[in-house]
């Protein structure tokens, strides 16, 4: 992974000191609330319902074991001994005090971590595929490009006060695992006919109040133009994006208002002056970036033998975990492993300090000391030898992280909701827990096959409910919490926005509603037809009929 050099360290030290002074000036009354607000947001600090929330950046989801241990220690000292993995691959602390923030930032900086641009109307942390660099279907490793975007966007002087937040996602594989169609800018790497790396540029995707699938801005931009082109896109957005209404300020609204062709013309006009300029990625810059992500020192392994050894493990629970939670790897004899952070009684994505410490040791022992956060609010050990999977599984069982439900119904995405967030209309976590408890029959879950269930506590859609196969959205009706259910959303491979089933439900009704939806699917499915495929084939009507027919009035 990218290791900080002296420049990175100096910049971070100066930035940490700068924010410390800003916080002290605020606490001393020298900075007014509305002046401090954008400054603290650009440093990941929210003032929330019960306590501040601090969002810690994990650049493109990559984190080292040392960083995890530091995080565990910070969460014990300054918080309540746990952290939360967000859908944008970052970590969040839910209970720090404002006064302790400078100290937390100081401790984070010691392990090259920070909260820069994890919130606010600026370019946010770039996200990518959790299997970047190891995925079997990868065309080009996205991490070097993510790192270049990180550097370009960090403390960018021109784009710190945009009309609204700006999120970039990069995907380098055949299957999109980064939801690039649901970002302000989505980038898909590919190989062009002329042998260069090309970038397909999507713009104006996003969820929130107005869910939109991104439009194609460029089919194949030579990668050397990546930075100058992004700069041109941001310039157009910074100057023309709406600032009169924050609900209409995202780039998707601008692209829709201008039309993608006219928006492209405006970008090209800006780009004329930037193209081939100093920020062009010459070979030196590209090779320099790639050097940070060279292959791990893999052993050469006879994969037939190691496969056979796995087959010999007769334990059916292990075999299920192997099937659902481990993923094909570029390197023969290795697999990537998903740790599902959705245990009973825990909010999705929460992980305790003790678990973090053990995971850090497991990363050292099994996976070259590195981990990834996923946008499904899980963690991944990316480089585990097949012959050591059984032993890893046993170790994960000891800390309750061997749940074999990766990619299934109970591996939900869920925002912090009304329990923590000041924006939420409804408490999403209790709904996720009720579903988790109701559907704990693992055989039934496997029979249902892969299903993505996403829950958001309000229409800002942090839980990505629009692109869940089953989406649940918290709404407020006359001060009461209700939940709207949608079906058929999909994040990749012909992405789609889910369709709303009908009138909303109380929290108590949701497990029954999900149950009816699943039973309807089981009754209607063709052989081997996945839930999402049945949804798209039969449409929403049969589900609607069965759900509202059985509903108690």
């Amino acid at each position: 992974m990218y290791r900080y050099n002296t420049n990175d360290k100096q910049l971070l030290a100066e930035r940490t000191n700068q924010f410390k002074n800003q916080t002290l000036r605020y606490l001393a009354g020298e900075l007014e609330e509305e002046e401090f607000r954008p400054l603290r947001l650009q440093n990941g600090l929210y003032i929330q319902r019960q306590a501040p929330m601090l969002r810690i950046a994990v650049p493109y989801g990559l984190v080292s074991s040392d960083q995890l241990r530091a995080l565990a220690s910070i969460s014990r000292r300054y918080d309540r001994g746990y952290v939360h993995v967000s859908t944008r691959q970052n970590f969040q602390l839910n209970w720090p005090s404002v006064e302790s923030i400078p100290d937390i930032l100081g401790e984070l900086a010691r392990v090259d971590m920070h909260c820069i641009q994890t919130s606010g109307n600026c370019i946010r942390n770039t996200t990518t595929d959790q299997f970047a660099g190891v995925a079997f279907d990868e065309v080009e490793d996205p991490r070097p490009y993510c790192e270049l975007i990180r550097q370009w966007s960090t403390l960018h002087p021109e784009f710190a006060f945009l009309p609204r937040k700006f999120k970039i996602a990069v995907c380098g594989s055949v299957n999109d695992r980064a939801a690039i169609y649901a970002h302000d800018v989505g980038l898909a790497l590919h190989h062009r006919d002329d042998g260069q790396v090309g970038v397909k540029v999507l713009v104006g995707g996003g969820l929130g109040r107005t869910p939109v699938i991104g439009s194609v801005l460029e089919e194949s931009l030579p990668v050397r133009h990546l930075i100058t082109y992004l700069e041109a896109v941001l310039r157009v957005y910074n100057q023309l994006g709406r600032r009169d209404n924050k609900y209409k300020a995202r780039i998707k609204i601008l692209v829709r208002a201008m039309g993608v062709d006219q928006f492209r013309t405006a970008v090209h006009r800006e780009w004329e002056g930037l193209k081939d300029g100093p920020s062009t990625l010459d070979d030196r810059a590209l090779i320099g970036a790639k050097d940070h992500f060279s292959a791990m020192p893999y052993e050469s392994i006879d994969s037939t033998a190691s496969q056979l050894a796995l087959d010999e493990q007769r334990d059916p629970i292990f075999q299920r975990w192997l099937k659902n939670n481990t993923h094909d790897h570029k390197q023969a004899g290795y697999r990537a492993v998903t740790l599902v952070l959705k245990a009973h009684g825990q909010a999705p994505g929460d992980i305790s300090a003790d678990q973090l410490d053990v995971i850090a040791s497991l990363a050292d022992e099994y996976s070259f000391g590195e981990l990834r956060n996923t946008h499904h609010q899980n963690m991944v050990l990316a480089d585990v030898q097949e012959r050591r999977l059984y032993s890893l599984w046993r170790d994960l069982q000891k800390i309750g992280l061997a749940g074999a439900n990766a990619g299934h119904l109970t591996d939900m995405i869920c925002c912090p909701g009304g329990d923590f967030c000041g924006l939420a209309n409804a408490r999403s976590i209790p709904v996720s827990q009720a579903i988790n408890e109701r559907f704990d029959d693992i055989d039934y879950l496997y029979d249902l096959g892969p299903i993505e269930l996403n829950i958001s506590g309000c229409m800002n859609a942090c839980g990505h409910h629009h692109i869940g196969h089953i989406g649940i959205l918290g709404v407020d009706k006359k001060g009461q919490e209700f939940f709207q259910v949608s079906l058929g959303g999909k994040q990749a491979d012909n992405p789609s926005i889910g369709k709303i089933l009908g009138p909303s439900f109380s929290a108590e009704e949701i497990p029954n509603v999900v149950d009816t939806i699943l039973a309807t699917y089981v009754a209607l499915r063709h052989d081997d037809e996945l839930f999402i495929e049945t949804c798209h084939r039969v449409g929403i009507e049969p589900f609607k009929e069965s759900v509202y027919a059985t509903r108690d009035h």
Partner: protein, 153 residues
């Protein structure tokens, strides 16, 4: 007379603020864009953040001062206006005025502004300090031609 910061030093402001009603503006007074458009020989003009800086592009050599007025610290359009004017070749005084805070001064400087009216409630010394809080920059901007991600050969 309010002090201003020019090229990293506290200086006296010899320009008079623009007045919309005065037409044409007296000598030594900054013109509004509307006043300037009536007489493009005027040497100093102030832009609002919803003005298009390209309006001035054909006259940059005659202009001694271009000011950009920030109505609100969150209105980031002025940052792009600064870079646009510098990239179009403006060499004169580029001044930020209005409601920004000292914590934004270094970003303004990096976008090509070399002059600043003092932010509300800020001493000249504090403002000067804010201009140089961060000394490492990853990306190319007005003050740095080569981005850091291009390691020197």
């Amino acid at each position: 007379m309010q002090p201003v910061i020019i090229d990293g030093q506290v200086a006296k402001d010899f320009w008079l603020s623009a007045i919309e009603e005065q037409s044409p503006p007296e000598t030594g007074r900054i013109a509004t864009l509307a006043q300037w458009q009536l007489d493009t020989c005027l040497p100093a003009v102030i832009l609002q953040t919803d003005d298009n800086p390209e309006t001035l592009f054909d006259h940059l050599e005659q202009l001694a001062l271009i000011a950009v007025h920030f109505p609100d610290m969150n209105d980031g359009r002025g940052f792009s206006m600064g870079r646009a004017l510098r990239e179009a070749g403006f060499k004169g005084e580029l001044r930020a005025t209005g409601r920004y805070i000292r914590d934004q001064l270094q970003y303004l400087k990096r976008c090509g502004f070399n002059a600043f009216s003092l932010p509300r409630g800020t001493t000249p010394a504090a403002a000067l300090e804010s201009l140089n809080e961060i000394n490492i920059h990853y990306q190319a901007a007005h003050d740095l031609t080569e981005p850091l991600f291009k390691p020197l050969g």
